[in-house]
Amino acid sequence: MNKHFFYLIIFLCVSTHIVIGQNTNFATKIGKVPDDYLCITGTVADIHPFIQSHLMWPSKDRISKHKKDLNDNNVQRAVASTYDWLKKVFRPEWVPENLSNIEVLALKADVVGDKDTDGQGHDVIRFRYKVNNYVIEIASTFSRLTLVIQDDSQKSLDLDEEGAKHFVANTMDLFLREADGVKNISLQNIKKGKSGYKGSPDVKPPTCNIWWGCVFWWTDGHTVMFSMLKSDNRPLVPMPKKDWFSKENKQ
């Protein structure tokens, strides 16, 4: 594909959605994603299994196996926390006004087959919705928030590194509140893997203590994933906590 033609597509795509989006209000046209819809259908390599489990939408079997009652107080608190993080990270025009019409999944000790590093899984809140042409999938554990974004009206692009940079950067710019800060970091660190391009901030602990400094991203030319530690410059360390829904976490 002609590189310049590709940039034009990206530009038009971003511009279109900037017009549709509302900068100061919640997203108004929330659509349901079909149950059998999958943003990623193939194998994703070169990503940490923990993050892979967030990138891939869970199968019906997994959901059935791990599904947790949403009326549980601890689950409700986890859902509320996830929604708060969503509002903190996303620009408001991509955030549903509430989750009342969105199917929310609470998966207890969810794992991704044998690839889970500790084999015990983590409590996770998952839900997805559609705003205009974009499918947005959310995965949230005690320590990590993962956002999967796909424009289902576009086909996968054959990106080179420069194209991947711009694709990710423009998606960041469109969706993330702290886009400028993220973009400046992420564009310096991009590499091609087996399944796409991935990157991470050129910032390492201990300075990585706010969410946009701890974001990891991946793209295959169609889908973009941002996965970040829930770091917010507070005393609590976003240490992986498998039993997020356990009562002993309540204070």
Binding site: R144, K204, L229, P235, L236, P240
Partner: protein, 624 residues
Amino acid sequence: MLYALFCALVASAGAADYGNRTFTAVEFGNQTNRPADVLNTESKKMNNIVKGAIKTNSCYALEKKTAFAWGYTNGMSAWNAVKNFSSSSSNYSGKVFDNVGWTRGTKLTEGKWSAFLWTMKNHLEFKSSETDKWTCGSGWVVITNVIVAGLSNYPPMTDHSADWPDVGLATSNYPGDNQGEEKIYNVDLTAYFQLAIPDISVSPPEAVAAVGCSAVQFTAVGTNIQYGVVWSISPSGVSSGACLTNVAGYSVGVTPGTVPQVYKIRAASSNCPDYYDDGKLTVVRAELKSIEFTSDHESGGANLLKDNNSNWTDNGTAYVEPEWGKIPGRTNPISHTMNTKLAAKVTVKVEPSGVTFDLIGDGSDDYVDFHKTGNNSTGSDQEFTVTADANLPDQVCTLTKSIDWKIEVGTNECSAGSSGAHKIYVTYTTPYGSEVTEKRLSWACEACNGGSTPTGIAEKVYTTFASDPPIFSLTNYNVPNPLWRLMEGAPYRGQCIDLANLMLLAIKMIGGSGTIGYVYGSTNADCFSTSSEAFESRTPCANTNHPGTEIILVYSAAGGAWNNWEAVCKVQNTCYGIKLYEGTAIDILRYWLEESGNYQAWCYQDESGWHVCTDPGPYPVPEP
């Protein structure tokens, strides 16, 4: 020759006024030091010459005719001859001459001495005056004496006789050798009346009374007022104004009424109203209108203190000035720095105009006492700048004080009303750091009551925060905006950084200062920083599976989670870990780690998040 002698003698003598009396000025018996202008004023009341005429009943002139001796061996012998000679007299009945007197002398001629003597006197019988009252203006005054100019003083309406001159004087001594003398006496029979002029003094000369007060007493004293005095007030007939009451001879009561006004209170002689004295009664109305404190905490001319005393939000409107007003009525609280003086602009209306007064604010303590002296009323609203007599207490506190305001005119007082109760939030310095609502400042002043030093204030806040609210929660935190809403308690809960920030806000609300600091897990006593990213770190870890830099984190068993640090509020050299411990940073770290289940460990981060380094450790990291 004799004629020549007489001419020579006459030439050597002259006419004289009989009596040669000295008259004195009017005297006022009871007030000897009357000012000149008063005397002048009083004298002008004498609208004509105070004199009359004696009534002559009979009179005659008696002449001793000339005796003449000569041919004596010396002058004395010749003189004795004429002195002892019983010469004939001539009585001129019904006559009074104005050239009575005598002629006498001695002379040596041709070796012989001669002498001569001639006398003549008047005799008058008269009544001193026809009346003992002198008409004066619209009344009269008593004539105490009739002063006949050439004769003597006489009581009025009395009969007298007078002879003049005393011709015995003509023979009382030897005139001298070759000496001659002629004495001619004129007499002024004008009769002047000495009057008993009323002299009145009203006491007190000036008085001040507040509107609506009880009657003010005036008293008239003086001389020649035995016939009494008549009291009057000017202006009279003022609606609801002052009026005379309890008129009792020489004293009167004056009820001030309700109209501010200057009145003349006059006591006039009953027999001659032209003689009077005026007292002055100033009926004063003093009304406190407003008080605007100027030494309180303001920004851009507006009060810092906002009127939200119901919740912990930033809501509210700055309390308006003036803080105290009569109409519309309001008493707004103020915030003020301790150990400084209150200052205010006080608006009062003092009527009538032209009253010199002192404005006084009297509270229960010196620091709410005010004095502003030497003011002159305009009759309209006037603004005065006042400063308290003493500094406010040298400690944080909340005061509730009322102030009684009055004016003093001379020794008289007149209430202007009371203000308050003024609520004064006494702070360390000017509040800052967050919106200064009354809810917050009231709480802060109560929490820090008695604190007078930065650490004293910090200790009190720390002690107060030991109890909920604010509620602490490491993992289930729900931090409100603004942070002050942590004081609402549930559902709001804060982490250590929130409580530290809240403590700092509380300290700043009192005007104190401090910093936010962080106590880190550490291998040594170097465990404090004002940066939230000052972890103790190591790179690389001996375990090659641990990427990047490892840092020491602290596990809190109570919270079931890992901590980057313990946030503290630091004031001077003391760190305050809210609901945890106070002391130095290492004190706090040690206390923290000694809590059951707590420990510190090296941690690393990969794409899945943070992990504890147990290999090679050390795990946990030993307490410093």
